[in-house]
């Protein structure tokens, strides 16, 4: 219901073990943060589009639309990081009166903005190719999450439409009693007047759920059977290792051409003999 971002499919990305996929994507997201140049995150952003279309059968247009949410924010971050850049400012690009814009500043601003776009794109690819129940199952079997916690989470998710219905009920009750007012202050007081009954109803139902779970022997025996068990395959590890390899290779290649900057770039350059 709330997970409309998951698209059913049978691509390679769909079939990878969710926890391993999460690990691989997190790895691919960490690398751009280690460098201060805009080329590195741009490469990883391109990589995400390639992954999505080739291995995930996700249309690039969908990813572009996903990035649109961040459009204004990225622009704001670009400006902010350019203006308040604290490193060596050498090359002046242009100036508006007393405000000077340096090339280093813009590069850094682009770097951070592109990182954000990477985050949102990889996340979108992950969410689009991961069935939430399989993710929960994978967290239990691969990440050793307590199965009680996973069960409680799934129970809570089943709960949400009920909460939604209750919200409409509360809203209607207020309307019938003539309690609706316009305005910003009214909206704030509405948050409190709807929120507390909603939360307390939710908790009351949670308590009821807990009692019925206990009555059915929840959490008593550690021997538990499962309907679907997620397993890891050889291809999962191939994917993980490839992600690691790419994470190392791209910075090294960029270092070879002197394209990256930041502390690690120096390390990479020395490794590659620049």
């Amino acid at each position: 219901m709330i997970f409309r971002n998951y698209i059913e499919g049978n691509s390679f990305l769909h079939r990878i073990n969710p926890v391993i996929k999460l690990l691989a994507f997190s790895l691919l997201l960490i690398v751009p943060t280690l460098f201060l140049d805009p080329i590195t995150p741009a490469c990883f952003l391109l990589l995400s589009f390639l992954l999505a279309s080739l291995l995930g059968k996700i249309s690039p247009l969908r990813l572009v639309r996903n990035m649109a949410v961040f459009a204004l924010l990225s622009l704001g971050i670009l400006m902010f990081n350019t203006l308040f850049f604290g490193g060596d400012k050498i090359n002046i690009l242009f100036h508006l009166g007393p405000l000077y814009i340096y090339r280093e500043g813009i590069f850094f601003g682009l770097s951070v903005a592109l990182r954000l776009l990477c985050v949102t794109t990889y996340s979108a690819v992950f969410v689009a190719t991961t069935d939430p129940t399989l993710l929960a199952s994978s967290l239990v079997h691969q990440a050793r999450l307590s199965h009680n916690i996973a069960y409680a989470i799934l129970a809570a998710y089943r709960f949400l439409p009920i909460l939604q219905r209750e919200l409409s009920q509360i809203r209607d009750a207020h309307h019938i009693r003539g309690g609706y007012r316009e305005g910003f202050a009214a909206r704030l007081s509405r948050i409190r007047r709807y929120g507390i009954p909603l939360l307390s109803n939710g908790i009351r139902q949670a308590e009821r759920m807990a009692i019925s779970m206990d009555a059915r022997g929840f959490g008593i025996s550690s021997g538990r059977t499962y309907y679907r068990i997620t397993k890891t395959k050889f291809s999962d590890y191939v994917f993980l290792v490839s992600a690691l390899a790419i994470s190392v290779t791209i910075p090294l290649i960029l270092a070879r051409f002197g394209l990256n900057s930041g502390f690690l770039a120096g390390v990479a350059e020395s490794l590659v003999g620049q």
Binding site: V69, F85, T120, Y122, A152, I153, A206
Partner: protein, 196 residues
Amino acid sequence: MKQEKEKKGWARWKTVDLIVTAVLSVAFGLIFLAYGLLYIALVPVFGQVGIMLFLGFYYIIGVLVPYIVRRPGAALLASLLAAFTELLAGSPFGIAAVCAGLVQGAGAEAVFAIGRWRNYRWYMLILAAVASGIFAFGYEYFLFSYGALSEGVQLGLFFVRMPSAALLGGLLAKGIADALARTGVLRSVAIGKARK
């Protein structure tokens, strides 16, 4: 035997604790999703530093849930669950939100751990929210390379979120939990028992 069990009785999670944690975390995960969109819309108005005034609300889940259920690990679990909910429900911050949740939860958990998970007075709630803020700053420092920004800006990014954390993360959590406790609905969890 019974004495041993009772000694650690306060630490054992009951089913009702777990379900209340799950329900609150999932609900707030969705609230955070909506809040995130508001956040994105307000950045052009307040700027990167000014928007930190709104950041404290994210720390509320790591304070509210422990204050209610009072079990070890509540802050970390609730924070992570809320973040995962955000991710799966389509937050643009996605995986970064999960990492942020992990870090913020760890900060709050550390504070409650120092209080041996038994001290939930108002100043502990504020400290937990502030700790979430400190840990979150550390994480953002890495993610956004704050080190490359000018020092004044770095200080601003660190300090401006603290009053927000104390108010929207700490005191608001206490306000919500106390209001809920007054309705009597929290009688079967730790906070209800503590108020008797």
